[in-house]
Symmetry: C2
Subunit: 482 residues, 2 copies
């Protein structure tokens, strides 16, 4: 940093009282990630209120060589929005950029600023009888900018894709403060590199997202939520293929749950009961959706899928939620797996993916390998079968000390799981990103050619390494030796 | 170049007789683009037969600083695969990388090498009762590598997206000869920058595509092809919105044709007749498709769309193709516009796009502006309304000399059209790419921030400027002054 006092004076003047603070108490909630795993320090917190202000504060940072940590709702999963402990960085909150600039109902597009909260967008779309087809647990705090920076996933990726697929246009402030304006959505545009794609998922290391044009869909007209008991994850895969062939345009979710997870949930939720009376080794939660105004017999389609599943022997038993309330109850069982497990004891949770075609095989191979290598643990895999995204949780042996186990055997387990998934051609981060949490693992296991490209691009677009330093981009091999 | 003789000797040894030639006659067909607009020279032509050989020849080029012009089927529209006249570059043909490595019918994915011809892929998919959902006029020569390098479009983008949307995984050789291997398709993968997206549409300036994992769809079960007569392009837009709301998942094409183009086609094709007996200012060609096995009453849907169009006054008259033969005849009318116009006289053809929502308005504004600025010309706009992609053709006044007009008034017309579309927030290249044809126009009209980013990324990934020099990336402003 060249001259901290000059920087601080200029920044305070530029952003005014509402936009700039060094108050420890005001900054504190934003210096620890929401899960309490990472805590950092900051020189100050800037909260610009417009793209123009973001551009000017970034110019100031560039001039004074002040590192910047951009932050949205502070609900990330990998510590990507928490500064390091050095206290030299500016924490740059985008939360005041909170306008939904327009919603175009004909084109079904919304132009949102980076600080718009996901739930707010859902509500604004619903008022226009539209919907934004991405949702996740943190929707009450996650912001559009953060969702784009981390290319967020969620439960609707099977049909609608990740955040990348929702972004039709983008505006971002680059490392030198210049504004990259690609907000105007063009369905066909071959004027060179698709730079928007480079910024999506770059976790604030190449630019700071300030606004986006997002696609909307017609509101949901009707949904059918099915619960099926299955004998194996292989059968689940075959059932998924069948559903895709028969109902691809309506298949919104296909989640799998092993018996172990379901009973943990039933123990954890006193009022819950299993949708099926019988016992099954695996369960599938399937959601079919038709948009308002579309011409489709959804109950008929759901019935046919189940009867075909029975006939082919893929389904042992099944039921269709009889009401919206019951549909919500089915989803609650799925969404309660993580809390139910946490109630039992410590667990290492891995957000990994493998090619969709290999997921069943992977789970069948990985569970016994982990359990035999680390005696006493229980490995469970559940999640988005349709996306190849496994939530692979390894539960600690009974009686271990929370905290201590995670730091010891837990770390070895994670390295083992990451090695395994890499050998299977998979990803050590399916949807939560790299942040600071997995940066070294990415350096250890990432494809060296891809890592070298990433470093070159980072160096080209952020030559002074001011944008979210220490996140995402692994250090070059020689740097490890310093 | 460091030592041409040493380079040529090593290259000949590396690739052998089938893979390397300096024979003028053998090279000639590949040194002029298929439309005969650009002719170049080359030091030699390399035709490696494997990714490994591509990697080694590129390493050799990097060592000797030999520029490389990658080429697929030589059917590009912008001179992107033709070397300059200097004769210092190596022409690198990817045509011998022609294997379809695998087709996975469950996952509906094909792994194709760069030299696979589009038509070959269509046929291989059809044998497995699948289809590859992208097609275009040059399908008999266009290769997978070229389609990816140019992010090709075609007539099915409305429903299935451009080539970018078909690419699930990618393999490419970078400027230093290293192999970027991201062939394994992962539906969710957040391990940093999506480098694959950067290579798609980069026209060989950042890397050389050697193979790709492509998505396939179930074969078409049934299609309905509709022809509607309309009073205005505004009505066409409203009809499109209605079709999207009612039949989005089945709407595969929505093309618009003005009366002027239809009569040119009817004059040009002796056996053709108009699908409708009445006269209309505009025509829409609409295609609906259902996949094999899907549960949908397509004829019923087509009938409802038309009757709703009549009721709301959007459609003046309409018909549904009664047979596959008639459906083909409808499409032939659309596909004959360009040849019919060429028969009349010279024309400047512009491949431009504007936001879908503004296309009707743009056409209504642009046609009279061009015609009043250049007296005697006729401006017509037709094409993919659903994509915002206008084929904007300006026909010469009667009696002008072919060749001379294009170089004189024609150039001024193109600059005028490009200025106009830029002011409307559109693109000067919707689907044909930049190549050498539009590089200076991109430099003149491109967003300076985006151009600076492009140059930085190019410099980072190809520091010696060896990959397809002179294409796509406009020179920096200071370079223009040299």
């Amino acid at each position: 940093m060249r001259d901290p006092d000059a920087f601080l004076a200029s920044a305070a003047e530029l952003l005014g009282e509402r936009g700039f603070t060094r108050d420890r108490e005001l900054m504190a909630p934003w210096l620890t990630d929401w899960r309490g795993r990472y805590t950092g320090n900051a020189l100050a917190m800037a909260s610009p209120a417009s793209t123009e202000e973001v551009s000017r504060i970034v110019q100031l940072c560039a001039h004074h060589r002040v590192p910047i940590v951009p932050q949205g709702g502070n609900s990330g999963m990998s510590g990507g929005a928490t500064p390091d402990g050095g206290g030299e960085a500016l924490l740059l909150s985008l939360r005041r950029l909170s306008a939904i600039r327009t919603i175009d109902t004909d084109s079904r597009q919304a132009i949102c600023e980076a600080g718009v909260i996901l739930q707010t967008l859902h509500e604004a779309a619903a008022e226009k009888r539209l919907r934004f087809p991405l949702t996740l647990g943190g929707k009450g705090s996650a912001t559009v900018g953060g969702l784009i920076a981390t290319n967020a996933g969620g439960t609707q990726v099977l049909r609608h894709g990740t955040m990348r697929a929702q972004v039709l246009g983008l505006e971002a402030v680059l490392a030198d403060g210049s504004v990259f304006d690609a907000l105007t959505p063009l369905k066909k545009d071959n004027r060179g590199f698709d730079l928007k794609q480079l910024l999506i998922g770059s976790e604030g290391t190449l630019g700071i997202v300030t606004a986006a044009t997002l696609r909307l869909l017609p509101e949901v007209g009707e949904r059918a939520v099915l619960w099926a008991g299955l004998n194996s994850i292989g059968d689940a895969r075959r059932l998924l293929l069948h559903c895709e062939a028969r109902a691809e345009n309506h298949l919104e979710g296909f989640e799998i749950i092993p018996a172990h997870c379901l009973s943990a949930v039933l123990d954890h939720l006193p009022d819950a009961r299993s949708p099926l009376a019988s016992e099954h080794r695996w369960h599938a939660l399937i959601e079919l959706v038709v948009e308002q105004g579309a011409d489709e017999d959804l109950p008929g389609l759901a019935e046919s899928l189940l009867s075909e599943g029975f006939e082919t022997g893929l389904i042992e038993d099944a039921t269709i939620a009889a009401s919206e309330i019951q549909a919500e109850q089915f989803w609650l069982l799925r969404d309660s797996i993580s809390p139910a497990e946490r109630a039992i004891g410590p667990a290492m949770q891995h957000d990994i993916s493998v090619p969709v075609a290999r997921m069943a095989e992977f789970v069948e191979a990985a569970v016994p390998q982990v359990e035999s290598r680390f005696p006493g643990v229980t490995a469970v895999a559940f999640g988005h079968l349709g996306d190849g995204n496994v939530h692979f949780h390894v539960l600690a042996p009974g009686g271990v000390a929370r905290g201590e186990w995670e730091e010891g055997e837990g770390k070895a387990i994670s390295a083992f799981v990451h090695d395994l998934v890499t050998r299977w051609g998979g990803s050590i981060s399916a949807e939560h990103g790299i942040g600071q949490m997995k940066r070294d693992e990415l350096g250890r296991l990432g494809n060296p050619v891809a890592l070298a490209m990433m470093r070159s691009v980072k160096q080209a677009l952020d030559p002074h390494a001011l944008l979210n330093p220490g996140k995402l981009v692994p250090l070059a091999p020689e740097a490890h030796n310093n």
